[in-house]
Every structure is written in structure tokens, then in C-alpha cells.
Assembly symmetry: C2
Homo-oligomer: 258 residues x 2
């Protein structure tokens, strides 16, 4: 097998998931007639491959996890929804009359978010956007987007970019997953292998695939709250509190230090 071409995997997938959910637009069908759910394929660098239904990226509030609702209640001021995807949470903040900007690197996902009514959108990386003049009071990283910190090397760079975009008193509200509760030998062995090569146990190396396309390989961080505290040490942010009511999922609330 040749390597699949690199492309906007997330955008293509979200576009199809939106077509399946709404019944509008062309969508892939199994054989022709039986509706086929859109599946995100996730490869890990130990060879593990997993599929997961993509429809949750379009979930309405009554389909959300409880921590999503608690996260939204913590938002204040102007919100930057980072990795906004199809606008799941940004649209709800907008409905509530809040000032919210949806940022994503996926052109296709932002196109769907706009089609669903999200008005203020940015297609960019956090790093490049940090030179913009916009300022925010809340940075929202839901849908496990704490993972975008990637790892101990990338996290300070990412967090400095957010500090550049921050109003005084700004907060980060990020949903993460503590990966260490599992007893699955495939995951336990992967965590050990990661540590042996100087990475955090849950510092996943992944790529996404959808139909003909793949992403580049990227790091994605699942870490414990204790690891998070170490990862952000020395950055402009400090950990204010952890909401672990939905363990192993948690909300980390960070605020500008000093």
C-alpha cells in the first residue's frame, strides 16, 4: 500500500457526517441504500487502529456529556472556541447571546460551522492567530481538545500563544482525559513504551484517516491532572481547579498567573 495523500480529513468527514445527520447533500452509502454512519478512523503509531462514529461532532446540547454543559457555564466575556470543528459548542454559546469566535485549522469543518449559523470563525492555527489583534476572556478546549497541548515541548508554545490573545483575567477551560485507569494491555503497554522513549504515557502519536485521505502524524496528549500541572509549569498559566466529576474525563480550569 502506498501512503494515503494528506488532506483535510476532518473537514471531509464533518461534511459527510453533516449530510448524513441532516439528509441534505451527497453522502456515502453502504452499497447504495442502507445508511452508513460516518466513521472517524484513528491510527496510533503502535499500529492500533480504531474507528469511532463521527456524529458526536454535531451533537445537540441534549446529546452532550455532562461536563460540556458545566464547561459552558464557566464561560465569560469573549470566548475563543479552539478546535471548534462543526461549531457544536460555539453555536450554543452564540445562541445564548455570548461573543464567541470559532477557530479551527480545518477549512471543511469551519464551512459546516458557518452553514449551521456560526457567524465569527477563523481558519488558522493558534500560533499564527496569536499575532492578530483580537483578545479573549475565555479559551475553550472541549471535545478532549486539551489534547492539542500535544506534550511537554509543544504545550508552553501553545499556551504562550493563548497568553498573547488573552485579556487580563482570562481563563482556559479545557476538557482532558486521564488515560491511566485502563487495564487494557494494549494501552498499558503503549503507555510503558511511551515512557521508555521519554514521552508522557498518554502522549499519543496519531493520524486520522477518512476515505482516501490521511492527516500527517501528530501528537495528542491524554494526561492526568498531575501531569498537566507539570506540563504547564513555567508558562503564563496556572491550574486553578479540576472538575473530575466525570472521571476519567475532566475539566481543567487555568488562569493567567500573576
Amino acid at each position: 500500500m502506498r501512503e494515503p495523500p494528506i488532506g483535510d480529513v476532518f473537514g471531509e468527514m464533518i461534511r459527510d457526517a453533516y449530510a448524513v445527520r441532516t439528509g441534505v447533500g451527497p453522502r456515502p452509502l453502504a452499497g447504495g441504500r442502507v445508511p452508513r454512519p460516518v466513521i472517524e478512523v484513528i491510527e496510533r503509531d503502535d499500529g492500533l487502529i480504531n474507528g469511532a462514529p463521527a456524529d458526536h461532532y454535531l451533537g445537540e446540547p441534549d446529546e452532550w456529556q455532562p461536563h460540556d454543559h458545566r464547561a459552558l457555564r464557566l464561560c465569560r466575556g469573549h470566548v475563543l472556541d479552539i478546535g471548534a470543528g462543526a461549531g457544536r459548542t460555539a453555536l450554543e454559546l452564540q445562541r445564548r447571546g455570548m461573543a464567541v469566535t470559532g477557530l479551527d485549522t480545518s477549512r471543511g469543518a469551519i464551512e459546516i460551522a458557518r452553514r449551521r449559523g456560526l457567524r465569527d470563525t477563523v481558519i488558522n492555527t493558534v500560533d499564527a492567530y496569536a499575532s492578530a489583534s483580537a483578545r479573549y476572556d475565555t479559551f475553550l478546549l472541549l471535545g478532549n481538545n486539551l489534547g492539542l497541548l500535544e506534550g511537554p515541548e509543544r504545550a508552553p508554545v501553545f499556551l504562550r500563544a493563548l497568553a498573547q490573545l488573552a485579556n487580563p483575567g482570562a481563563r482556559i477551560i479545557a476538557q482532558g482525559t486521564d488515560p491511566y485507569g485502563t487495564t487494557d494491555p494494549v494501552h498499558v503497554g503503549y503507555h510503558r513504551h511511551n515512557r521508555e522513549r521519554g514521552r508522557l504515557g498518554g502522549q499519543l502519536r496519531l493520524r486520522l484517516r477518512y476515505r482516501l485521505l490521511a492527516t500527517e502524524w501528530f501528537d495528542y496528549l491524554n494526561c492526568s491532572p498531575a501531569e498537566l500541572e507539570q506540563v504547564i509549569a513555567g508558562t503564563p498559566w496556572r491550574l486553578k481547579s479540576i472538575d473530575a466529576d466525570d472521571h476519567p474525563y475532566y475539566l481543567a480550569i487555568m488562569e493567567l498567573a500573576g
Copy 2:
């Protein structure tokens, strides 16, 4: 990425799907708590990758496609369910008091079929089993298992093996899919590419993946009824009728010629 190791992909997947459906036994969980459906990952040799929920392999009769029910009404005598998997259809025939043998190459799938109560099972290929002394009146190939004919070269070998296992008057009841109704350019292009290299348009080259394992690459035939008629010409079988009520899916009923 190194190539994934070859193993009983289907068996591992069915075991997990059974654990998820019944709530019994260890099962992979997303992050730990949110139930994760078991997904079959299918790679095609043009780089297309698709995921499909695996739960349908365990579907009870009220979850079946209509043609499955029509196929079972056509069974008579001793039935060999080929590619019986987790025993979905064989178990229902057994419940109805029919003599049925479930054959599959997957040790893991047959293990689940037996755990679900299927009494008469064979772990073997059709070719190797053809030298056995058993004889059957109906060969059942449901769940798109007409695809096991693979293509014009393999089909006569496969069908001769079934003829060896056949009582006089035996029939094959096989569910296939006509692939040519699609307008999806990815599929239309693949059909054209297949024809250019001397294959039938819907002669798929696939491998399955589940977690750490992959199958070898294999051919799997989606063909129109007209192509099927050509593929079986010169074999001991002739096409008796096609039930195309659930187009693009169809039931092909074949009987021993002469």
C-alpha cells in the same frame, strides 16, 4: 508505519462486539467509561478506508434486512451456512428445528457462535471441507457472502467445492450487492480502474483491520446479476432466479445443473 501483524481480525472483532452487546467480558472502552461501538475497518487497495459498526453481525431477526428473512424461507434439508460468523442466521435456523452447520475460517467467530448456542460448527475453508463426507441440501451465503466467490478465477473452484458437498437437488442461496448504481466518483473510478486491469468492476481487493491486527489482502466480489451469470458459467451450478426486491442487494438462487 510497519505493516500490522496478520491475525484473526474477524474473530477478535466479533468477540468484542459480543462483549459490548451483552455487557459480559472485557471490552474496549473509549477513555474508560463511554461505551464505544466496535468498528470494522476495511481498507481497499486504492487507499479507501471505511469503518462500519460490527454489531450487525450479532443482529437478532428483528434487526435483519428483509432479504435475510426471505432467504431463510428458501432453506430446506441440511443447511451449510458459509461464513457463518457469530451464527446470526445459523442460530435462527437451529431455533426453527432445521439441520444446520455453521462454517467459518475464523476460530474466534465460531467460538462466539458456539457460546451463543450453535451446536454444529466447522472451522475450515470450503475447499478443505469439500473432502469431508458431509452432504448438504442448501448452501447459505448471507451478509453479502456472495462476495466469497472473489472473482472469475476463484468462483469455479469455490463452486466445485460446494458441488462436492451437495446432495442431488441442492441449492445455493447467496446475497450479493450490485455495485454499479453508485454515482460516488471514488467508487465509479475504482470500478473503471478495475476493468482497465482486467478485473470485474466490483471485484474489490480488501483487507480488514481491527485494533492491532490485519488480514491478508483478499478479493471480494460485488457483481451485478448479469456478471454473476457469466462468472458461474461452466460450473456445476446455474442461476435459477434473482430476488432483487431490496436492490442494490439481491438474493441469487443457484441450483445444480442437470
